[in-house]
């Protein structure tokens, strides 16, 4: 259920940027997820409508793009790219691997409607 809090964070960030730009409506929010992230796209999408229901962002679409995940092998110190399915270091075969600390999920851009020309 940790996706719920992530979705609330996405909503707040989108709203704050839309307000600064003087937008009248948010049409869509583009979210990037690292392929090594703990957050699942399906679960984020599932919470989106409910979390936005009563706010100014209601009706906005959420779109996802995927960015490569980065891993570090703690046995041989090699870093390598991979998604959630990673279970071994491609170099030494150790299972002692961890995702590199990087944002797992970020708001890339928002599409808004403004009343100006």
């Amino acid at each position: 259920m940790h996706e719920l809090g992530v979705v609330e964070g996405i909503r707040e960030i989108a709203l704050s940027h839309a307000r600064s730009a003087g937008a009248s409506r948010i049409l869509s929010v583009r979210v990037a997820i690292a392929e090594s992230s703990r957050y699942l796209e399906d679960a984020l999408a599932m919470f989106w409508d409910g979390v936005c229901e009563t706010s100014e962002i209601s009706g906005a679409q959420i779109e996802f793009v995927h960015v490569p995940g980065e891993w570090l092998c703690l046995a041989c110190s090699k870093s390598f790219a991979g998604g959630r399915e990673v279970c071994r270091c491609p170099e030494c075969g150790s299972q002692w691997v961890k995702p590199v600390d990087a944002p797992e999920c970020y708001v890339e851009s928002i599409e808004v409607e403004t009343s100006g020309g």
């Binding site: 259920m1 940790h2 719920l4 809090g5 992530v6 609330e8 964070g9 996405i10 707040e12 960030i13 989108a14 704050s16 940027h17 839309a18 730009a21 937008a23 009248s24 049409l27 979210v31 703990r38 703690l74 299972q95 002692w96 961890k98 995702p99 600390d101 944002p103 797992e104 999920c105 970020y106 708001v107 890339e108 851009s109 928002i110 599409e111 808004v112 409607e113 403004t114 009343s115 100006g116 020309g117």
Partner: protein
């Protein structure tokens, strides 16, 4: 009407982080040092708080925010009986604490009457690590019956801790827990991590922990991380 795209490039957790910064400022201005206690269910979070409160009674004033996914408030009641100012936070199913929950909860506490605040997070080794609360330090509790493989399975939790307690060391003769293997895993993730092997039940190793807690409570918050 014009449609335009605004580039944002902001971490989804930034909204939480901003509230965490405000929480830290509120704690600092009240002179409270706050510790985020994280562990799996049953590792001994409440037992450690209970022992700490009882042992340091009269020396430092301890507050406790207990969180659980249900209304069951027995952990907060245990801390209260030991002498803490305690409040129960029901996350209604959410699997970790976030900064907004802490902001709302510290508003219910008499912060001026507290030197040190324990925030007992939800028993979970996965997502609490990602959510800043505004506390000054994160302490992770491992316990010997859980097994020695946890640093290998939950690296994010171990790499983010400021201190580690290994609880239930009185059970070492009865459980499979290779302390060297465990420590090697921890060391690779978090070199030089301050570690307190102890037993809340027998009291072994507790003195060093209590000294450290008393030291933290006495420090000016500005010098903490």
């Amino acid at each position: 009407m014009t449609v335009k795209t605004i580039q944002v490039a902001q971490n989804a957790l930034d909204a939480n982080r901003e509230i965490a910064v405000q929480n830290r400022a509120a704690l600092d201005s009240a002179g409270v040092v706050a510790v985020n206690l994280m562990a799996s269910p049953g590792a001994g979070k409440t037992s450690l708080i209970e022992r700490t409160v009882a042992e340091l009674k009269g020396q430092i004033r301890i507050g406790m925010i207990n969180s659980d996914t249900s209304p069951a408030a027995m952990d907060a009641e245990r801390a209260e009986r030991a002498g803490a100012v305690a409040v129960h936070l029901n996350t209604t199913g959410r699997c970790h604490l976030d900064a907004g929950m802490i902001r709302d909860t510290i508003a219910c506490l008499p912060l001026r009457e507290i030197d040190l605040l324990f925030v007992e997070n939800i028993g979970n080794l996965v997502c609490p690590a990602a959510w800043q609360l505004g506390t000054h330090l994160s302490v992770l509790i491992a316990s010997t019956p859980e097994g020695d493989d946890k640093p290998y399975k939950y690296p994010r939790m171990y790499s983010g801790a400021d201190a580690l307690v290994i609880n239930k060391i009185d059970l070492l003769p009865y459980v499979t827990f290779n302390l060297d293997y465990f420590r090697r895993g921890v060391e690779a993730l978090n070199r030089g991590l301050r570690t307190f092997p102890l037993s809340c039940r027998s009291g072994e190793g507790l003195d060093r922990w209590l000294d450290w807690i008393a030291f933290l409570a006495a420090r000016e918050t500005a010098v903490l991380q």
